[in-house]
Amino acid sequence: MHYSFDFMSVFVNWPRLLEGAWLTVQLSALAIVLGFVLGTLCALADKSKIWLLRALVKTYVEIIRNTPLLVQVFLVYFGLASIGLKLSAEFSAVIALTVNVGAYTSEIMRAGINSIHPGQIEAAECLGMSRFHVYWHVVLLPAVERVYPSLTSQFILLMLASSITSQISAEELTATANLVQSETFRSFEVYVVIALAYLALSFLFRAAFWMIGKASFVRKRKLGTNL
């Protein structure tokens, strides 16, 4: 083996790689927030009395969970463009990632909502709470608190999966790495560096979710017990 490693040619491109990493963070954060809202709404719709709504949610979840993200990304980017809806790569990436993570979040949230004892809801109704208040304080918040660890793992997987959007040339971390690679021909070095960058990002996301959890679950923080 006659190969001398040259990490310098990668590091001189650090401003671009940093920009790519920042876009990865933005894409993921946006998709996580939107996907969480979408998933929660779907989980609530799954509990509704309307048959059609339940069937729609079930179909959506099954389709997304049984097809690869790459194909979903292609369908959004190339498919929508072919019917005249030309979206930027970044915008398509956010849509595809949101739709994808929404389906998984809906399954997780469904489990969380199912874990709420019916007695809790009845008790809240007896206290004269409105339907909205019951859903917000008694069903949703405790449900999120219970499934928070699963949500965290799912969202970190999404952040890593956002690398797939490099295939439609959204200029995030992996796409930037591909560019640097094709300019410097230092493929191995580039990908080792961004592997470490992703590792650092996943630790950052984990820390961020831990802090968000600490800030939002007041009861848990004060009492230190699980629900």
Binding site: M1, I63, T67, L69, V71, G79, I164, A177, A195
Partner: protein, 216 residues
Amino acid sequence: MIAFSFLHVEYLLQAALWTVILSLVAFVGGGSLGFVIALGRVSPSPTLRRLSSAYIQVVQGIPLLVVLFITYFGLAIAGFSLSPLVAAGMSFAVYCAAFLGEIWRGCIEAVPKTQWEASACLGFNRFEQLQKVILPQAFKIAIPSTVGFMVQIVKNTSLASVIGFLDLSRAGQIINNSTFQPFTVFGCVALIYFCICYPLSALSKHYERKLHVSNR
């Protein structure tokens, strides 16, 4: 412009066969390595435990796409020129091992501790304990989640298209480039993936329900 025809569907189905083959390679390779990792995670030696947990932490923190690139380009500069199937198979084995290792660790730990103690009382050594008492029980618990993870493997093999492996997604891209009918082509591709994955998902759900009945 060429219209999308049955010839294309046939091409897609042929490529789907490669998706299935790669999934099997990934499952067998990842399963064998993952089994070792799972045993390392529950080993009495702290060094082994730390090593296997570090492996899981690192691999689960890197996107599969990057793992693929590192294997494909890294092994090339080490002097091995690998076919995409071998490179993809190796990356998937590395990737799946981390996830299967963690899933199976959970299953081994789900076997009650008293089973370990009881088999120790019978004079079994650690190997016999695992082989005769713990693993057969852990196996039963592991079936639903393992089948569920197979769905993930099948979906993730779509990424192998990036390093030039001619799987279902790559075939879809090629056809799309000549027909310019992305909705039809990728819709077809998605449908074929769905036909592979949905039975697995349903099977996983079925096993899970069965397991919960016996646990009630």
